[in-house]
């Protein structure tokens, strides 16, 4: 079984981010593998452990710096990686991104299962997985909090936790599944895994390799234009009540009253 995990190199947004003059995220600072993508990687690693003959491939579309995300994906259990990088891709919208990824998946060939994170840590549109599945003509199961592949590999079943109910969904393979952070606790790679990752093959590809017409991607081809970006003012710091302090509960309830919440 061949599993492709889509991984993305993102700026470290948890510690704050800035925008460029072109209304895009400033990606010049240090980045990392999107934390949300660690969950599909972990899921793939666990599947590879549980089933025979599983090959896990990490696929990323991103600048040269995205090597960092690729390296991490390989440490976390991917057997090989494909890194698509082309200056023409910069500024692509979700549609163009999905197009390039679809071509890359076809290039990889014989893919049974595509795993993605619940969303990208930076733009967070959640559009790419479904568009990609549509382009490939395969079913997409989104928001999996758990995932199982039928023995023999004919179908994939997921659970999706929704506010009202938990759904169990299945689809025949090949299929695409997006995995949430509830699915697993990503394992920290051992030193041996880090060492072995250095030897795993990474294929660097550009648009020409994939046969993608450069005019279909990039900022110029974006069908959605970002009119303006206005960063929100930082949230005012909350008030801390030490849990073990005097009358913590009383203080807490007092605050709720003040705010008119009780």
């Amino acid at each position: 079984m061949k599993i492709v995990v889509l991984v993305k190199y993102v700026p470290d947004i948890e510690i704050g981010y800035e925008f460029t003059g072109q209304n895009t995220l400033d990606r010049s600072g240090a980045g990392l593998l999107s934390q949300l993508d660690e969950h599909p990687l972990e899921e793939a690693r666990q599947l590879a452990e549980a089933l025979d003959d599983v090959e896990v491939i990490a696929l990323t579309l991103g600048p040269d710096d995205a090597d960092e995300a690729v390296r991490r994906a390989l440490q976390m259990g991917a057997d090989a990686a494909f890194h698509v990088s082309d200056p023409a891709v910069a500024g692509s919208d979700a549609g163009a991104t999905a197009l390039v990824l679809a071509k890359a998946i076809t290039h990889i060939g014989d893919v049974d299962l595509i795993l993605t994170g619940a969303e990208s840590a930076d733009s967070g549109t959640r559009l790419v997985p479904v568009k990609l599945a549509a382009l490939l003509g395969i079913p997409a199961l989104t928001g999996a909090s758990s995932l199982a592949v039928q023995p023999g590999g004919g179908a994939v079943t997921i659970e999706r936790d929704e506010d009202a109910a938990t759904l169990t969904l299945s689809a025949p393979l090949p299929a695409l599944v997006s995995v949430t952070d509830k699915a697993n606790e990503p394992a920290y790679p051992s030193a041996k895994a880090v060492m072995l990752a250095r030897r795993k093959p990474v294929d660097e590809l550009d648009l020409a390799d994939l046969g993608v017409d450069a005019s279909l991607v990039g900022a110029g081809a974006a069908r959605v234009a970002v009119g303006s970006v206005t960063p929100n003012p930082p949230r005012a710091g909350g008030r801390k009540i030490p849990a073990d302090g005097p009358d913590a509960i009383g203080q807490f309830i007092g605050l709720l009253r003040e705010a008119g919440l009780v």
Binding site: D12, E14, I15, G16, L32, E185, A187, Y188, P189, S190, A191, K192, A193, V194, M195, R198, P242, D244, G245, P246
Partner: protein, 713 residues
């Protein structure tokens, strides 16, 4: 019938010595089968090693906290050596009751020495027996240092010594009686000064009966001694007996030739006797199968020797803060578990795939992960162990395997590791905030590369540390220290956003690869900046920068801020004033601020620095320093070390609360410390008890308060 005596005696002799020889050979073969140590690390400076061994042997310095036991043990130990010859004497007496050792048998000083040490040994062992009985009484439960020790083994050894001493004295009395009857009766007084009275009790018995008494008693003594030899030879894990031999080589092969405890900077990761660089692609693959210590076969020969030497005296258990607060960890039981494990799979390495992992697993002697991760690496155990067991290194070796090899460790640590990887500090805060602590100072803190072009222009590089940069209390200390430097006219610069965690939390948690990355990065920055003199406000940063960066090419003169402040005060460059009085007491009298000082483990025990902070505190006016019951080398951990700062503390009671209570027992209103981690832990503990009003301050803050006279900052 009397022919039976020598026959039984000689049989016992042959069996006893043969088994002992067999066991000693098996020990040597077993130890040699252990993994290699870093070349030279256990043999460099043989002169100093010999001196250390002799000092611990003759002066028992590690027993200083129990003077009665020290004296009793000293006497018992020497009596064992001196009384060895009485075994030969007794053997001769099996053949002829009037047997005397050639040459010395009639030599009065030898006789006196024997009698003195027989009585001394008797007295010593009686004291030790009493101490064990009292210290292991059931009502103490876990509070006994002997909890979990193999008590029957110890009692057996004690009984043997007791019986041997009694037999030696009794036999001498009988010998005195015999010599009274012989030609040389005049010498009885001289040769049997303290045992002739025993002989006088036998005045009425016949010559034949006296001979019979001597023969039987000699056989008894021999059987007691050889039974001991047989038992200990068959019980290789009986450190309470074996330490009398193994302690000598174990002390000689100590990590620090001069006898300092095996603390401070850690040794690099070693596999097969070679330091391992995990970032070097040329490191052979099979090395990755043996990172740290995961199986008995990976224990080094010194590990095996040291584990086997443990006497189960429980001194380490008694001082362990994790054990005292109800955690699964006891350093003694950890050592015992590793020892039993190694011996169950002895000769080490012979078990192949049947060997079981040292940590986790269901072998009865497996170390539980809870115990392994409860250690704060405070070093109290290692500092006190009389036979030189190096607990902290064992803990680190086991953790290294768990992290690097098995990727098995508490989940919270994964968060700290990721923070260190991504943001180069365990808090996971953005590096660009590293200078936030300078806000509010009324002078500009010089930053290298911004306001200071080269470190050649300044006296010191001030290494702020992550706590100084990101933690509220740490920031306040950093501000106070910078202000003091500024006032004293000491020029300094900070690295600002170029500073990264020293890697201490990663290293103590076993993540050698992450530590290596951080250390290498820091050394590159420091060397590029031309750093030579570095001052730090954190005990952990001190330990890493001063003691662990050498192998990475980082050699600096590192001083702790309390050392620099003490020097500045004594040189007259800072003039401490008086601390303001505390609020009036109930009787309206003024109260002098009373301060107690918490020795940070990584400043005190790990690096031997106890004086400087006290010099500073002593120079501050209107301050009363009240030491805690356990201070200085006996100080008790706050609970933050060994990566524990980043772990939940769910088992038992809290370490920080316990130490805060000990501080409160001094009646001091202020706990002074010299490490931001102690400040966080103790600060949290006193905050939880809001009625106490106790405050926690760094020494620098108190000094500044006394100078600035504006109340405690």
């Amino acid at each position: 019938m009397w022919y039976a005596l020598p026959v039984i005696g000689l049989l016992a002799t042959v069996v006893g010595w043969s088994l002992l020889a067999w066991r000693v050979t098996s020990y040597v073969r077993g130890f040699r089968a252990g993994a290699a140590e870093l070349p030279g690390s256990r043999t460099a400076r043989p002169g100093a090693r010999t001196a250390t061994m002799l000092r611990e042997f003759l002066a028992h310095t590690r027993l200083r906290r129990k003077p009665l036991v020290a004296v009793a043990h000293w006497l018992t130990m020497l009596s064992f050596l001196v009384l060895v010859l009485t075994l030969a004497q007794a053997t001769g007496q099996l053949f002829s009751p009037s047997f005397e050792l050639p040459v010395i048998g009639h030599f009065a000083p030898y006789a006196w020495l024997t009698e003195f040490f027989a009585w001394a040994g008797l007295l010593g062992i009686l004291v030790l027996i009493a101490v064990r009985l009292v210290a292991s009484r059931a009502s103490l439960g876990r509070g006994s240092r002997f909890f979990g020790s193999h008590q029957w083994r110890a009692r057996y050894v004690e009984a043997t010594i007791l019986l041997v001493c009694v037999a030696v004295l009794w036999l001498r009395g009988l010998e005195a009686a015999l010599s009274e009857r012989g030609a040389e009766s005049a010498s009885a007084e001289l040769l049997f000064p303290s045992t002739a009275w025993i002989g006088s009790l036998y005045g009425g018995v016949t010559d034949a009966a006296l001979d019979g008494w001597i023969g039987c008693l000699a056989l008894f003594k021999i059987l007691v001694s050889y039974a001991w030899m047989v038992v200990v030879s068959l019980t290789p894990t009986m450190g309470v007996a074996w330490h009398r031999f193994l302690a000598f080589p174990n002390l000689w092969f100590a990590k620090r030739p001069d006898g300092a405890p095996a603390l401070g900077g850690l040794e690099p990761l070693v596999v097969g006797g070679q330091a391992v660089d995990l970032n070097d692609p040329a490191t052979p693959d099979d090395v990755y199968e043996h990172l740290g210590v995961g199986y008995a076969a990976e224990l080094t020969w010194r590990d095996l020797l040291s584990l086997t030497t443990c006497t189960e005296c429980g001194r380490c258990q008694e001082v362990c803060p994790a054990w005292a607060t109800g955690k699964a960890l006891s350093p003694k039981l950890l050592v015992g578990a590793l020892r039993d494990h190694a011996w169950a799979e002895w000769p080490v390495g012979s078990m192949g795939d049947a060997a079981t992992p040292l940590v986790g697993g269901d072998a009865p002697w497996a170390v539980s992960p809870e115990a392994l991760w409860a250690c704060t690496t405070c070093g109290a155990c290692t500092a006190i162990c009389p036979v030189g067991v190096e607990h902290v290194d064992h803990v680190i070796d086991l953790r290294r395997r768990q992290v690097l090899g098995e990727a098995e460790f508490p989940a919270e640590l994964g968060g700290a590791f990721r923070n260190l990887e991504r943001r180069q500090n365990p808090w996971g805060l953005p590096g660009k905030k590293r200078l936030d602590w300078t806000a509010g100072l009324d002078f500009d803190v010089p930053v290298l590369g911004e306001t200071v072009a080269s470190l050649a222009e300044v006296d010191y590089l001030y290494w702020v540390g992550c706590a100084g940069a990101f933690d509220d209390r740490g920031q306040a200390t950093a501000r106070a220290f910078a202000e003091l430097l500024h006032r004293a006219g000491v020029s300094f610069a900070v690295l600002g956003t170029a500073e990264c965690c020293t890697g201490d939390p990663a290293r103590r948690a076993g993540n050698e690869s992450l530590f290596g990355d951080l250390a290498a990065g820091n050394v590159e920055v420091l060397n590029q900046a031309g750093a030579t003199k570095i001052v730090v406000t954190c005990a952990h940063c001190f330990n890493s920068l001063a003691g662990e960066y050498g192998p990475f090419g980082g050699h600096y003169e590192v001083v702790h801020h309390t050392e620099l402040l003490a020097d500045l005060v004594e040189a007259g460059r800072l003039t401490p004033g008086d601390l303001p009085d505390e609020p009036l007491d109930a009787h309206g009298r003024s109260v002098k601020p009373s301060v107690t000082y918490q020795d940070p483990c990584y400043l005190g025990r790990h690096n031997g620095k106890y004086a400087a902070p006290r010099r500073v505190l002593g120079a501050i006016g209107n301050l009363e320093l009240t030491e805690m019951a356990s201070a200085g080398p006996n100080s008790v951990c706050c609970g933050a070390g060994g990566g524990r700062m980043w772990l939940e503390e769910t088992e038992g009671t809290r370490l920080n609360q316990r130490r805060a209570d000990q501080a409160a027992a001094t009646g001091a209103g202020t706990i002074a410390t010299a490490c931001p981690f102690c400040a966080v832990m103790l600060g949290d503990a006193v905050a939880a008890d809001s009625g106490s009003g106790t405050q926690v301050k760094d020494v620098a803050q108190l000094l500044l308060a006394s100078i600035a006279g504006e109340g405690t900052p």
